[in-house]
Symmetry: C2
Subunit: 327 residues, 2 copies
């Protein structure tokens, strides 16, 4: 009965996903994604002036289904007021991905960038949804990275930007974490066997150590760890994990400005609210805070042991700041 | 020329290492280590009363050579005053180890515990060095874990204990980290290929993320990472890494007291100074601080972004506290 409920819920959730067909999609690398499809779900209603659309790309290993918990009245973005477009980033297993591409399966799927994700979303918004402007772009974690990328790639296309626990550019500590996960998969045979280490490592970095040590007692640790090791690769395929990791590892919004973050910042036109967790161990907050200084923009800095999970742990506070900022 | 100097230094350092031969050594598991040899180096002079001996076991992946930087006047332990016995923990590549055992090479080397390390050291001290008492036992990181184990295993044998960034019992966050490293090696083919991910992960957890992000700029990150990935497996063999990891994963000084840390604490007779880094992300400080409360003992709690490297970053402060405590 419980399985049936889960299945029905999954089906009903799946049923909401629509797809934009982009055909052959040329990547930053010069290579081409064949039969590129971008998944998305919409929530709320577009108003007559078409001025209330908010784009919400997915986080690393997340799908538009996973975003649902953040959309609705009292949630991060209020779909009573805004027409929310939750979009599946390339490689998330819903949009065209290593795990679902027939033409380019697994590691034959070419590497892509956060720039490619954003350009695919721009095509979805303009050519499939026929919108000429967005009110805002917002995103959590890798969704925040895509938001920063939107700010320099399409600066005139939206009025407000809300990157949440995201980053404009990776630090050495971010690179160590993502490369640790990448190298664990690369060295494993079969590659999926590497996901056990990846799951441990990911859980290790998601919160502060003291948060985990306090929340999960030594007696509960074995169960917590083995469930996490089973659920992680079940939720997200190792090949999708690999290619999305590589997109994050290469992420740097200053790249198109010869490495100058000042020049990148000068491109930005959106009014911006930068939200970070000061104790975030998964996406280091320092580059986002540095860019906020260059932009002279508003920040919400939350000092919580929840670390990278702060937007969830402090949902009410983050939601209130976003609601006020978007008005 | 530089290589020659390094070689001569290595030879001169190696020349100082002596070995205690323990023969067949029965492990906690009931299995036997064949031809068990324990490496050690001594610094300073034993006084006539034989009352100034301090035992200093190695940290995880460290050897008695690596301890040298912490021994001497002005260092963590003053060898002008104390007879310092730096001892190589089982599995460190100097003492009997998976990487150097002819009878039980690689993973045919049986698993061992921190209790086994400590018992081998007790035999070295009593049967080879013919000491009936130690003034103190001290150690850093896994050396601190061994110090906690000494406190419950041989409570009458020494007067003072100084566990530094060690732990009496692992938390869920420690278990996630060490299992991430273990599982990366276990899934890799050949196992040594897993050390690349392990090196990244280890560096990620050694300090706070903000410390690493600030110390190593994005421009310097690639060099830092690749040097670390090469040096880590060159310094310490994957099979030794595996077995010492397993020793830490099983470490719990309450195990012999039916899981009761109160009962374990009641065994302790040594006056104790617990030194922790409050921002230590590699060995969580909470269990050491909880035990310190049970012991009503002195603590030195350092709040430094150096994290697990705090004893090195704050060497003068730690050395001063130890010098005062030992007097």
């Amino acid at each position: 009965m419980r399985l049936l409920t889960v299945l029905l819920l999954a089906l009903s959730a799946q049923a909401e996903i629509q797809f934009a067909s982009l055909g052959s999609f040329r990547l930053d690398s010069g290579l081409t994604l064949h039969d590129c499809r971008i998944g998305y779900q919409t929530f709320g209603k577009l108003n007559d002036a078409k001025s209330n659309a908010v784009l919400f790309p997915t986080w690393f290993t997340g799908t538009s289904n996973d975003l649902r918990g953040n959309i609705g009245h009292g949630k991060l973005i209020d779909s009573d007021k805004y027409f929310v477009i939750a979009v599946d980033a390339i490689g998330d297993g819903i949009s065209t991905s290593p795990s679902n591409s027939k033409a380019q399966p697994h590691l034959r799927f070419p590497k892509f960038t956060t720039g490619d994700m954003v350009r695919s979303q721009y095509l979805l918004v303009t050519e499939t949804l026929h919108l000429k402007h967005l009110h805002a772009v917002m995103g959590i974690s890798m969704g925040g990275m895509q938001t920063f990328q939107w700010m320099v790639a399409y600066p005139d296309f939206f009025d407000k930007a809300i990157p949440i626990v995201g980053s404009p550019q990776l630090t050495s500590t971010d690179l160590l974490l993502w490369n640790a996960e990448l190298h664990a998969i690369e060295a494993a045979k079969p590659p999926r066997a590497g996901m056990r280490a990846v799951a441990d490592m990911h859980a290790f970095a998601l919160t502060t150590p003291n948060y985990r040590a306090t929340e999960t007692t030594p007696a509960a640790a074995a169960k917590f760890m083995s469930e996490n090791e089973q659920n992680t690769p079940a939720h997200f395929a190792w090949d999708d994990w690999t290619r999305q990791l590589e997109a994050m590892i290469g992420h740097d919004i200053a790249k198109a400005s010869n490495g100058s973050m000042e020049s990148a910042a000068a491109k930005v036109k959106a009014r911006t609210l930068v939200i970070v967790g000061l104790q975030d161990h998964m996406v280091n907050p320092l580059p986002a805070l540095s860019l906020a200084k260059l932009l002279h923009c508003e920040t919400l800095e939350i000092d919580s042991p929840c670390g990278h999970l702060t937007p969830g742990c402090d949902q009410a506070r983050v939601a209130a700041a976003i609601a006020r900022f978007l008005q």
